[in-house]
Structure formats: structure tokens, C-alpha cells
Subunit: 608 residues, 2 copies
Amino acid sequence: MFSAIKRFLIGRPLKSTELGEQKLNKTKALAILSSDALSSVAYGPEQILIVLVTLGTAAFWYSLPIAVGVLILLTALIFSYRQIIFAYPHGGGAYVVSKNNLGTNAGLVAGGSLLVDYILTVAVSVSAGTDAITSAFPSLHAHTVGIAIIFVIFLTILNLRGVTESASILAYPVYLFVLALFILIAVGLYKVATGAVPPDLHAPIGTPIAGVSLFILLRAFASGSSALTGVEAISNAIPNFKDPAPKNAAKTLLMMGGLLALLFTGIVYLAYYYAIVPNAEETVVSQIADKTFGRGFMYFFIQGTTALILVLAANTGYSAFPLLAVNLAKDKFIPRMFLIRGDRLGYSNGIIILGLAAIILIVAFQAQTEHLIPLYAVGVFLPFTLSQSGMMVKWLKEKPEGWVPKFIINTTGALISLIVTLMFFLTKFQQVWSILIFLPIIIFLFHRIRKHYDAVGEQLRIAAEQPHVPIEGNVIIVPVAGITQVVENSLNYAKSLSADQIIAVYVGFEREEEKAFEEKWKKWQPDVRLVTLYSHYRSIIQPLTKFVDTVEHKASQHNYRVTVIIPQFIPKRSWENILHNQSSLLIRSFLLYRRNVIVSTVPYHLKK
Amino acid sequence: MFSAIKRFLIGRPLKSTELGEQKLNKTKALAILSSDALSSVAYGPEQILIVLVTLGTAAFWYSLPIAVGVLILLTALIFSYRQIIFAYPHGGGAYVVSKNNLGTNAGLVAGGSLLVDYILTVAVSVSAGTDAITSAFPSLHAHTVGIAIIFVIFLTILNLRGVTESASILAYPVYLFVLALFILIAVGLYKVATGAVPPDLHAPIGTPIAGVSLFILLRAFASGSSALTGVEAISNAIPNFKDPAPKNAAKTLLMMGGLLALLFTGIVYLAYYYAIVPNAEETVVSQIADKTFGRGFMYFFIQGTTALILVLAANTGYSAFPLLAVNLAKDKFIPRMFLIRGDRLGYSNGIIILGLAAIILIVAFQAQTEHLIPLYAVGVFLPFTLSQSGMMVKWLKEKPEGWVPKFIINTTGALISLIVTLMFFLTKFQQVWSILIFLPIIIFLFHRIRKHYDAVGEQLRIAAEQPHVPIEGNVIIVPVAGITQVVENSLNYAKSLSADQIIAVYVGFEREEEKAFEEKWKKWQPDVRLVTLYSHYRSIIQPLTKFVDTVEHKASQHNYRVTVIIPQFIPKRSWENILHNQSSLLIRSFLLYRRNVIVSTVPYHLKK
């Protein structure tokens, strides 16, 4: 039944050779990998105004130079990541770049931050999208957390179905959103040009403001640059592109950067010209749309696509998280299970764990985005800084032809990213301190896991010089619970193995019962030695283990192996298992994990 | 770590021979087994008044004859159960009595009702106790469900620690409650006698009332008799008493009956004399206490002990449920696991399942007692009726000396119990219909389980005439994932078993990889045959199972056995298991449960 539900939700399994069909073309890739970055224009400009409003509305003209700063940062990031795509065509982004150029620990800082960040991407985007919906339909407000969780589950299932299929569904909303905002900006600018908007609403550029300081301006800049989260997704997902993958990825990156720049500039400019004041009830985009179109079809079209793209932005996380996990797992820093492709060729374990972690975050933070965004931004700009510093080192080391402009691009990017990161720690320490505790822990775990895998590999390797010690003989122990077909079946098997000794062991809870059993046994199996053990604490495992230890100790001296044969009857229907005490399962796990004996289970299948 | 927590909560394990020390003396038994019945006086009288108030306060004098009816019922129950204790000294109560005298199905109806009823005992009592607390401290009202759940968890842990230890803790509140109510009744009666209470508050006995009908009076009687729930607990728990168990149990039963009668009569009389009107905000007992003492120390003492005894009444369920479950499990109607004594000699599985079920009920009904009480009462009076009918049949069949008065006692009890049961169905059908659906289902399950156990027993039995077919030989299959120490270890073991054939099986996901492996194998283990299987869907189990099926089919024709030897390396620390794909575990479970092959796991313990 479980597998039928799985089929319905996930679809039929795909053969490994069908992998090629799942690769992305540029149009679909733009939709899948850009929704996070593009959706940020829904809140990025607002973040700038929220800081500036503390100086008064006259200070809003500062949003224009700040936006220029963000655009410079964006340009630096886009060109830097374009260079990374060609330098690292197998993907990996910040993790691979930092690891190769700055050393393992820098790579792990970047990788660790990004892993967490993709979870935050899902949690933040879905929560923000849900907020947009519940703002439109206030009666749903009480169910915010539930709705957000449903969206996460929906996205998880989509992604388990496979990347291309998700893309077909997800491409439309992204393009509709871009279309909606372009119409908004175009009509808005037309109204500005024709004078339909009074030109005296906003304070002119250069108006002197009391109390303005570099600190506040940098803070506004840092807040605004939270709109650039998601820019790195493409460089992590190059293997998902159709061939030639790096070229297609680079083109997609440039398209995305261009769209993001246009939308961001348009929104910031209109917000300034319309003199929009941010408030908690209505978003800046909603206010611009309202002033441009009134509350008609276009208004709801813009709001609807905004809500949709925010929810789908979460999908960036679903594309990027499993691929980053694969890179980390290949380097043995996280469990191997992230390497396994599922029935539909996606990395199912990564997708499922991302979904679960996002749900936990949503529940813990009650789907309140404002508490998550600063942490989210730091988790993005830390790897930005590291990957671009890594590129700096790379150019300095390799010095290929024409490396100087490339070096300058990456240096600019690294410096601005570093400043943004530091600004978050300086101005929002209360919300981001946890990353300072969390990162060392995760990096410690990465190293711990790597150390384990290395140790295992070392121990499993077959060394040529190792002397081969053959096994001299076998001792078989059969725990028996009564005189039944199951036991007979197991004893017959034991006898067929031509072992040197077979010992049946019976654990009794009462002295008389023990004696009675011994006598019955003598009549039934006179040729098999029976050992009875008395259990003080009604436990079978304790006395049995003690006995096995004794036998094993003696056997190992003569290079004999000890096999414990466990008779087990298997009911016809699996629900019937709860009617039987699973002693054999317990005995098996206990002996196998703690003792050096072979555990063999002889099934006796019941016929009714 | 888990076992350390368990030790802390539950205490050290006890030897089976320490069982005697855990037996109850009369004083402790009275406290443990009577709290349910005694606590009922906190709400029993109120239930009568709630029905009568529909006729007007002048009708309250009817509470006195109705109380007499309840007392007659109580007397009949007490004497009937006294006879049951001596007739069935090994406990079992309604289940055993009904089964032995009326047949299996009657027994199962009684047993099924009681099993559910003990869960309701816990849920109702804990909820009522919590209500008493939250009434005293209204700020806690929002947390009713949470508090109730904490109480259930607390009681579960207490009972897992063992019966006697619980008793030491639980004895005080019960006796304090009895003391508190005796003081209340004595002082109340003193005030009545000295004329401190105006004698004209209540309508005199015999005042004619308009609209009175036998139906309403019977309904009031049925409601009032919900105060007798819990009377049967002692007869179910005879094995828990110190020797001579039946005599001690009978004495305890009489003591409990006497206490219950005195408290019940006193409360009903004072309520009538004080002309207490039941209301939703304040209980009847609280009103009497208020009028007698005012809101001073004695008032809070009475309210506090009432709340405490209600919570502890739930403990009756913890004493009775596991013992009834043992009786049902011995007769193979419920899973065998209820027979196992835990570390502290209590029947842990019964205790834990009771606690979980009660928590589910509390959450489902949001700790609202009023919706649970009718179901609870029906679940009690159904087995009352059955067990006393059973006793009637017993006397008629056996006709021992002086059986006529005994027969009359049981007949009276049976008739009144039947009337009460029917009254609940007639007057509160909306709240009790579910038992008519639930009981047939549970009885069907009982029979289903019994049938399974019987079938298993039949199949496991060794028949003398059965021909013995010896195993002719062994084929060993070793799934291998690479060329490692683990595989070598397993192959050495396989070779030592002198099997007729050893086949290594490799499942490849890519064609080239397969070829490369075959060549490496030829150099490494030229004497072991290697079969490589190609997996289209990245699954190891599917191709492996298909191969095992082929081999098994051929082997079984020659009476050969197939053993699948699974190489498994065991990490040193158990957390490290999540770092490795548990393929061997999956393969093992799959083959063992679905195929007729022996599965042998060869552990390779890592040293670091």
C-alpha cells in the first residue's frame, strides 16, 4: 500500500539511462533557479526604506544612491559568478571555490552556511508567500503555519517527481511575475513622464537631512542587499544544465542579473517618485500597484504573482540543496546517503531532509519571516565573501592572460560582500549571533564524519602483505524456546552445515520449568547438547550473551568461528508480527552489534 | 543514555524472586484500589441533582429515595463481588466470571468493555481532577489538556516503578480525602442538629411535584449510580494482595463499601438539607464545604484533597488494566506482550499502552469530562450485569449448600445493573451509541487474534508421524559491494561451512563498472564464482531477489537449502551507523520475510 501511494505521488521509477532527459534548457533553468533572486525585489526595496524612514520621509532620496550601491554589488556578483561558472564547470559554487583556493575549512564554512541557508530559503520564501496570501484573505490568517507547511510538502513532492517536471509547472508563475512587474514599471514610468503623478510628492535628490550618518546608510545598504540572496544558485547547479552546461549557465546567469537589475531599479525609482512610506499592513509593491492601477485586475494580478513567486522561490532551495549535499558527500563530510538518486533520479534524501528541516523552522518561528531574514542574509553573504576571496587567490596564483580585470571584479565583490556581512553582525547582532555558535559545531561534525569515513576506508582496504588466517572450524549455538517445528527446522539446518559442535541453549525463568524442559529435550534430540540458563531478571538476552561470550572466548583461541542460529517463524500476514514478541530480532541486533559472532536467521514461514 | 534515563525514572531492575515483596497489605490496597470508587462521591450526588433540577428545586427531596436505591445497588454489588472473590480467588472479575458461566463471547463483551473502561477511568478522573485545580486557579484554565497529560505521564512512571512504591505515595491523599469528607459531614450534621442551619431551606419529603415521572426518576438514579464505578477493581486485583489474598481482598472490599456508603449518604443528605442547587461554576461538594466552613483552611483542604483523589483515582485503572490484560493474553485474545513483566515486575506494556490511550482520549475530548462519563458508566454496568448474571448461572448449576440467598443477592444486583445499563441507552443514547459499534469490532479482533495463535500453535506442533526429510546440501550466496576486508571475511566464513556451492553476487549500476569489477575479481578470488547483475533502477534488492529466487527454485528441487551470507561492517560507535547506507539490513529483512532462504550476517567490527 505504501508503495502504491508513493507511485501516485512520485510517479513511476525512471531508469538510470533516462537521466539525460531530465537536464534543463536555459528557459526552464531561468525559471527554476532565478525565482529566489527575482522574488527578492518584492521585499528588497522595502528593506531600504524601512531603515531610511527612521530619518524621516525626506531622507528617501538616499534610496537612489543606495540602490546604485546594490546594483554595483549585483554586477560584481554576477560577473564574479560568471567567472566561477567557467572556472568550475562541475558546479559546487562557494563550497568548491573556497575549498580549492582558501583551504578545506573555508570551504566548509561556506558549505555549512549554504546548507543552512537553503533551508532558510525555503522557510523564508514560503512564509513570505503565505503572508501575502493571508493578507489577501484575512480569514486564513489563523492558519498561516498550516498553509506554509502544506506548501513545503507540495514542493517536496514536486521535487521528488523530478527536476524537469517541476520546471514545467514552475516556469509560468515566474514569467508571469516578471511580466506583471514590467507592466507595472512601464505604466508607472509612463505616468511619471506624462505628469499624471504629481512631481512634488518626493523630496528632491540632495535634500540635506538631520542625523544622517554613514552607519545608517550602510545599514540601509545591507538591508537592501538582502534582495540579492539566491544569485549563487545557478553556479551550484551547472550539472543540471543541458550541454554545453557552463555556457548555458553563464547565459542564464546574465539574463537573471539583467532582469533583477531592471526590476529592482524600477521599483526603487517608482517608490521614490511616488513617495511610498513603508508600513506593516501593506507592502511597497502593493502600494505602487495601488497608486498606478487602483484595486482592479492588474493590482490583483501583481499581488497574486508576487505571492506565487515567493512560494516558488523556495524551489531554488530544492534545486541547490541536494546538489551541494552531493558535493559535500563526495568529499565525505556528510553522510553517504545524500549521493543516492531516488526513483525519479532526483537526490531524494536531500529533498526530503530539506523539506523536513524547513517545516521544523516554520513551526519554530511560527512562519514569521522578519525574524529569519537577517540570519538568512548572513548565511548568504558569508559564502559570497569566501567564494570571491577564493577567486582572488586563484587569479593571484594562476595569473592567466588578462587576469587583472578579473581580479578587480572579484576583489570588489569580496570587499562589498564582506562589508555587508559585517554590517549585519554590527547592526543586527541579536538576530544573527546563533550562526557564530552553529557554524563551529557543524564544521566540527563535518570533520568528525570525514575522519570516520577515512578510518573505515583504511580498515576495509585489503593489504597484500596481510597474512591469511583460515578458519579452523565452526561452533553453532541455537537458542531454543520450546520443542516446535521452528526449532526442528533450525536444528536440521545446523546439522547440515557440518559444524564441529552444535549447542542448543534454553533460557528459563523458573527452576522447575527448566528441569522439565531438559528431560523432554533428552527424549527428543538426544544427540544435540542442551545448555539451560536461569534468568533472574526475566531477560533472555543477558544470560544468552554471557554464554555466547564464554563460547566465543574459547573458540577464538583455536581460530574457530561462532555462529548463532536463530529460529524464527514468519507469520503469513505482516500485521500478525505484533502478536509475537520479537525476541529473535532483539537477540540478533544485540549479538551482531556487540559481539563477534555470526548471526544466522532460519525462517519458518507459516502457511496460514 | 536511554537506559540511564530509564534507570532514573523507573529504578533498578528487580529479580523475579522479589515479586512477593511487591504484594499489598489491606491498608495500602484500600488506598490503591478504592480511590476510583471513593472519588465518585465528588460527582455522584451532583449527577442526581442535575437531573432533578429540571423539575424544580422542590423536587430535590427525591434525591433521598434515589440515594437509597443507589445504596441498595451498592450493597448488592459489594456482596456479589464478595462472593466472586471467594469463587474466583485468582482474580479476573467480570471477564473470568462471565466467560466461565455465560460463555466466551459474554466474557469477551465484559473484558472488552472493561479494557476500554479503564482507559476512560484514567481519562475521566484525571480530567475531573484537572478541572478542580483549574477552577481553583483560573489562570491555569487555558492549559487544562496539558496539565491532564502531565498527570497521566506522572502516573505512568509511578506505576512503571512498581505497585507498592506507588501505594506509599498514593495512600496519603486517599486517607486525607476520607478524613476531610468525614469532618465535613460531621460538622455539617452537628450544625444541622444544633439548628445552625435554618431547617426551612429545603422542601419537605413528600412534597408533590408537577411533571414527575418514573422515567425522570430512573434517569436520576442511573446518573447517580455512575458514582459506583470502580467497585469491581478489587475483585480483578486479588493476586496483588498479600496472602491469604481472597480473605484480605474481601475485607478490603467491605471496608471500601462501608466508606463509600457513608460518604455518599452524608453528601446527599447535606446537599438536600442545605438545599444546594447544582451549577456549572461550583461543585456540590464545594458549595456544602463553603456553607459549612466558609472559604477558610478547611474549604481549601476539602477542595485540595478532592482534586488529588480524582487524579489518583486514575490509578485504579493502572492497577486493574494490566491484570485484566494478562487474563485476556493468557487466553490468547490479545497480544502476548501483555504477559511480560518489566524490570520492576509490573506489566510494563499494559501500563504504557494504558497511559498512551488515556492521553489520546484526553486530547480528543479536550479533557471535557461531561462527554466521557455516560460512556464510562455504560462500560462499567455492562460487565456488572454480565458478571452477576454469571454468578446466577453458577449458583443454579452448582447449587452448593445455602445457595438461595446468594442467588437472590446476585439476581438483585444483575437486575438493577441491567436497568441502569438500559437507562443509559434510553436516556443518553447520543453519548453512548459508539459502544455498540466499538464492542463488536473489538470482539471480532479478539477472535481473530485467538484464531491466529491457535493456527500458529497447530503449525509449530511436532507431529510424531511426520516424515523427517534431511537437508541434502547447501548453496551459499554472498552479495558483494567491492573488494574489501568485509567481503573477504564473509567469503572465508562461507568457505569454512563446506557448502556445495558458493556464489558471489555483484549488482552494478553502470556497464563499464561491472566489467572492471569482474576482472578485478578474477585476480582476487579466482576460485569463487562471481555473478554480476545490472540494475536499471539503482535498486540492489530487486535484481538480487530475482537471482535468489532462481537459485532457490533449483535448490529446493534437490532438497538443498539456500543461505544468503551478508557481509556487514559494524562501526565502533552506534551513531556512526547513520553514515552508512543500511543496505545489508534492507536486504536481510526483505529476503527473510518474503523468501524461503536463510539469512546470515557476518559482522566485521571496526576497531576505530
